[in-house]
């Protein structure tokens, strides 16, 4: 992931558009944060079928509260706080006890919820998830060496483009292009699955 300041810059630009009345801009924020939010609420919402509902409700609450968002904190921190509160409300409504491990909103981004998740997945959902994962891994392993190194350093090592350019001894523009081409190759394969 790029540095948080750049990510927040993107978020603020999108938030401003939503605040100006462009509802469709909110969809970009949903695309960007839906999986992170699902991962975040999972320890609270044990029933996986309800994860979708809690994530959805969190986004709706965020949308409704967005006119009052002034950018004093990072958007994702604010959104995660809403998601955690929504999850806790869900637990209260379900008369369940909160999970033993609690997550602070500030730390939420770095929290790995997978370690405490319960395994009650549906076979269909697993198949789809596994299919996509296998496809992505296969495409990456079949990539030309230069593209494979670029995308691996980016996605697995979370290196910046500048760092990758130093390692690969090439201009940053070349890194941009290589990562793009790797993503295109992945996209061409997974779009038939979705």
């Amino acid at each position: 992931m790029g540095d948080n300041q750049s990510q927040n810059q993107i978020d603020l630009e999108i938030v401003k558009r939503v605040q100006r009345g462009d509802k469709s801009a909110f969809d970009i924020l949903v695309i960007k944060y839906q999986h992170k939010l699902a991962k975040l609420v999972l320890p609270y919402v044990h029933d996986r079928d309800d994860v979708l509902d809690v994530v959805q409700e969190s986004f709706i609450k965020a949308y409704k509260a967005l006119p009052r968002f002034r950018g004093d904190s990072a958007f994702y921190t604010w959104l995660y706080r809403i998601a955690i509160n929504t999850s806790k409300n869900y637990l209260t409504a379900q008369s369940r006890r909160p999970p033993r491990s609690d997550v602070d909103a500030v730390d939420a981004e770095f929290y790995d919820g997978g370690s405490v998740m319960h395994d009650n997945t549906t076979p269909e959902a697993n198949l789809s998830t596994q299919q996509i994962k296998d496809t992505i891994n296969r495409v990456i392993s079949d990539l030309p060496e230069e593209l494979k190194i670029a995308i691996t350093l980016r996605e697995f090592e979370a290196m910046s483009y500048d760092e990758i350019a130093d390692i690969m001894d090439c201009p940053v523009g070349t890194v941009r292009s290589r990562i793009f081409r790797a993503r295109e190759a992945i996209d061409n394969e997974i779009k038939v699955l979705l």
Binding site: Q9, T121, I136, F156, R176, I190
Partner: protein, 241 residues
Amino acid sequence: MSEQIQQDIDQSINIDLSAFIDAEHSEHEISQIIDSLLSSPEYKEQYARKKLANDYLQEQVQEGIPLIGLRGNISKVLDDLPAHFSDEAVNLNVLETVNISQNSWFKSLLKKSYDNKIISGVSVAASVMLVTLVTLQGLNNNQAGSFDSNVVASSDEKLSTSPMLQSSLSPSFVTPVSTFSNLSTTSNLDINTMNKEQYQWIEADPVLSKQVREYISQHEKRQAGYNLQPKIRTATYQVGE
């Protein structure tokens, strides 16, 4: 040749999108990319897929949680929500008029609902105005204590040169209508009066309608609280032919 140029442009845009996912964009690219995402559904879907792959690789995607459909569900809910952002952003003095005659759906609705087009056009606006006028009646009765049968006509004369009519020719809205300080009753605001040109207005926008009602309500409370001379401000739309 032009096809090649188009392909180059597309590739350039897609390279920018990839950098956007990594927040490795340049500053001037942000608005451009967001504009493209909002204007092209295909481009947005491509972004969604690439972000999904990105999330998979960074282990953000949890197995067995089907988020497919989430965006559609959220969009559906957002569509049903009032446009509260524009409510907040709207300046009461710069609302735009809507010419009802251009809205065929609304016209057909009017035809279905009412036999008399003019009455139908007047009814909604009249309901707001009547409520206001009835309130004013009480205030003015207390102050004036008498009723002049010509007051409606004189009020009409004021209206005919008021900014409201002028604004029917220009797109500014909610303007001061008139001072109704000498108006002490609504009994003469009959259908003949309402048929006059200046009353042929209608509220077609529920959000704006709500806003106007709240505005009038607040205005009346202040007016009553400070015992001020009543004035009416209203948002109206012209019923075109």
